[in-house]
Amino acid sequence: MVELAGVTKDFVDGARTVRAVDDVSLEVRRGEVFGVIGSSGAGKSTLVRLVNALERPTSGTVTVAGTTISGLPERRLREVRAGIGFVFQQFNLLSSRTVAGNVAYPLAVAGWPAARRRARVGELLDFVGLADQADRRPGQLSGGQKQRVGIARALATSPALLLADEATSALDPQTTKDVLDLLRRVNTELGVTIVLITHEMSVVSYLAQRVAVMDAGRVVELGDVYDLFAAPREPLTRRFIGSALHHRPRPDVVDRLRTRHAGRLVTVAVAEHRATTTFLADRWLAHGLRAEIVFGGLTEVDARPLGSLTFELVGPGDAVDAALAEVRARTEVVDHGTAADPRDGDL
């Protein structure tokens, strides 16, 4: 759907040249939700603007739906842009128009006759649940409603690709979830491919199947969201995941656990296929250990279970070691030792 090959973008600011995107190559597959995560200034917003040709690459090629758009003249780029939906962090609704007028704008640009425009606007407002707000002004809407209008507007011309640039970053948690659910419907019910720009890993884990982690203009890690969460390679990726998952005990939590529990404390990463809770229970039982869950949690990433559990294991020391060796062969284990013999598990 989207293919970037060796894409670099420099901004010249007086005598200074800033490289916003640095040699990025990636492919977004038709029908998927592709996340791009990074801190502010990592180049994500520039990257997504290269995809809909609001910016032109300094070098490299951008291909959208089989058309290489880098190098096309402005007139052709307009057609390309009209065929790609764009959702903004700050909504960017036209305050001089009503809700219906905003949604109708891209249709007017595309030259739709007024009657068809009206019918299509009705459909879209129904889809985003704002049919009763058609005649209101953007200024009268809440943030979540504004973004729904933004999404309806982005979908007006039935694009196959939707770019969402921090679409939920200006919203509160509940509204964020509503808007993400709406985007999920856009993906599953309408089959629209979505590129999701965000600095929040929770947004990626909620919606995306694959994700690229960006840092200083480069893609430092790219893969299935689930695999990335289960086994991150880069420290930056680990940091982003840490902000989305709170299942691993911090050092001060471990200290408190040791005061409450005398047995061996271990934190085990739980992931589909590799280490399920059933697998863990079986291992403890096989070695005659008594196991108690003292910390942790499980969640869903890309609709698959993931998390980490901290156990207190009580039993003979060599039995514990034997059980841990078997578990360690399948998943990540952090051994905190016992209260009497603490170990510095490196998390």
């Binding site: 809909n52 307009r78 842009r81 960017n92 609704l93 036209l94 001089s96 704008y105 007017a108 640009v109």
Partner: protein, 218 residues
């Protein structure tokens, strides 16, 4: 003061002032809007970034605007005569007024448009709108409220100009006040002219404020 003598002159003068100010507002407003938009879009991050054009336009506007209007009227007299076909009266005066109004408007338009949220422009472009369409259907409508207030401000400046042209036989309330008030030492006549101008300005300001409020409330 003999109102039977001055009445017809006063009515004529009010008519001439309204005529000159409205023509100047329309001509200067439209040309100034175009020039102001040109000043904005040619900026480095504008819709049509062009360093050369931007520099030339800025020098032009900066050169004309500080010229005292009384001197400007006399300086462009050949142009005014060529365009109006006469060297006195409202049609002659309106040339200089429209020109000066154009340059004044351009800066007001520029100031208003640079304050516009660049996000809406980007949104329009992302939806495939061309640059001209973006200016006409997004940039100007989104800035309409402040633009109306800017034009109201401009109207007051034009009324001021309409009085100045009275000194060079341009007609209007300025000339009325100078001829029948100042030169005859008849303050009452001058004050009547002042009252008429104040009334025109007040009405214009009221209209501008009302329109702007209606646009901004949404």
């Amino acid at each position: 003061m003999d109102w039977n003598e001055l009445g017809p002159s006063f009515t004529l003068a009010v008519g001439q002032t309204l005529y000159m100010t409205s023509i100047s507002l329309v001509v200067g407003g439209v040309l100034g809007l175009a020039l102001g938009v040109a000043l904005v879009v040619t900026k480095p991050r504008g819709l049509w970034p062009h360093r050369g054009v931007a520099v030339v336009l800025n020098i032009l506007v900066n050169a004309v605007r500080p010229i005292p209007f009384l001197i400007f009227v006399t300086a462009i007299q050949p142009v005014a005569i060529a365009l109006a076909g006469t060297s006195f009266g409202p049609n002659y005066a309106v040339v200089a007024m429209s020109l000066m109004a154009t340059f004044g408007t351009s800066r007001i338009v520029e100031q208003t448009l640079v304050a516009l949220d660049p996000g809406v422009v980007e949104a329009a472009r992302a939806m495939g709108a061309g640059r001209l369409r973006t200016i006409v259907t997004v940039v100007i409508p989104e800035a309409l409220g402040p633009l109306i207030l800017g034009y109201t401000f401009l109207f007051v400046a034009i009324v001021d100009m309409s009085a100045v042209v009275g000194a060079v036989a341009g007609g209007g309330l300025g000339q009325f006040a100078l001829t029948y008030g100042y030169q005859r030492y008849d303050y009452a006549v001058t004050w009547i002219a002042v009252a008429a101008i104040v009334l025109i300005v007040q009405l214009a300001q009221l209209l501008g404020n009302t329109l702007a409020r209606r646009v901004l409330r949404r």
